[in-house]
């Protein structure tokens, strides 16, 4: 399934927040190492996406779709 615009936003945001965002490695006393281990498959990511979505008005996670401009 191709993600919808909203799912695309949440997937990419999740990817940045939890997977490959900026981590000042070695500097933090604690940082979440190997978070990507939880992203073994799409199902887990989509669960996160669903969770984010149900807890949130879509407007707060901005989904700027140029087609609607």
């Amino acid at each position: 399934m191709l993600p919808t615009d909203e799912e695309f936003t949440l997937l990419e945001l999740t990817d940045r927040l939890l997977n490959r965002g900026v981590v000042l490695a070695g500097e933090a006393v604690i940082s979440v190492a190997g978070v990507d281990l939880i992203y073994l498959g799409l199902n887990v990511v989509l669960t996160a996406v669903e969770n984010l979505r149900t807890r949130r008005e879509p407007a707060a996670l901005r989904n700027h779709d140029a087609a609607e401009d």
Partner: protein
């Protein structure tokens, strides 16, 4: 009293005014050093010590509201500031001194990162192939079709198998070409392009996935270019997904090739 740790959201060139609510309804406060300002809030050690944290991030019910709070903070700081280095979720320090130490030790790197993304936002573009592109116009396919039409049934049968291969190859070439040209179009309309790795096979695999850094005062031009690319590779064969503007999670963290 509950023990607390210091959670770091982002580093900015200066402190911002006004209350911002962070994770677990804590208030964001600032730690300054080296003409840098770190946006932090206090979080319970019971949840954010290394061991519980690494368990908690696997629990979506725990993670989701906190990841959203993290993003909310960075979104607000991003909108209110010219430059921001937003951190990934889960960067936690023992106390304010450790954060100050980080700002001091990494001052030069952080200043470089801030300069790189100043006045810019991050966007993400993905190009998907929804349906097979029309390969009938390609030379190889056309030639084989012509040969088949002029052949005996036996030879036509053999040629049809060649045709199937030629059609697959042509479709692959057209898609690769579409991805390359969209990437090229993005390079023209943005400050920087980072070609993202493609997701694993379990995901509907895009032809191209790219983060781009766009000047906020040039967003209209960027949108025009995206529309041009959409029109050039239209649905229902292709779909170009776009999301942004975001705090520069990716670009503030990338090492410069030249560094």
């Amino acid at each position: 009293m509950t023990q607390t740790l210091v959670y770091l959201y982002a580093v900015l060139p200066h402190t911002l005014d006004g209350p911002v609510q962070g994770i677990d309804a804590s208030l964001v406060r600032w730690i300054n050093a080296e003409r840098l300002a770190a946006a932090v809030s206090d979080v319970p050690a019971d949840d954010f010590e290394e061991e519980p944290l690494n368990t908690n991030v696997r629990n979506m019910a725990w993670l989701a509201p906190r990841a959203v709070a993290h993003q909310d903070v960075n979104e607000r700081l991003f909108e209110a500031s010219e430059a921001i280095v937003p951190l990934a979720f889960g960067t936690v320090f023992r106390d304010d001194d450790r954060v100050r130490q980080l700002l001091s030790e990494k001052a030069k790197q952080l200043q470089t990162q801030l300069a790189r993304v100043r006045g810019c936002a991050e966007w993400v573009v993905a190009l998907h192939a929804l349906h097979d592109p029309d390969v009938n116009a390609t030379a190889e396919v056309r030639e084989l079709q012509g040969q088949i039409a002029a052949s005996t049934p036996g030879r036509a049968h053999l040629l049809r198998r060649q045709l199937a291969t030629a059609e697959r190859d042509a479709a692959r070439r057209l898609r690769t070409d579409a991805a390359a040209q969209v990437l090229e179009g993005l390079r023209v309309a943005t400050v920087e392009v980072f070609e993202e790795p493609l997701p694993s096979d379990t995901v509907e695999r895009p032809l191209l996935r790219a983060s781009v850094l766009v000047r906020r005062d040039a967003e209209a031009t960027f949108m025009d270019e995206v529309e041009r690319l959409r029109a050039r590779w239209p649905e229902p064969t292709y779909r170009l997904l776009l999301t942004g503007p975001w705090p520069p999670y990716r670009f503030a963290g990338l090492e410069r090739a030249a560094d």
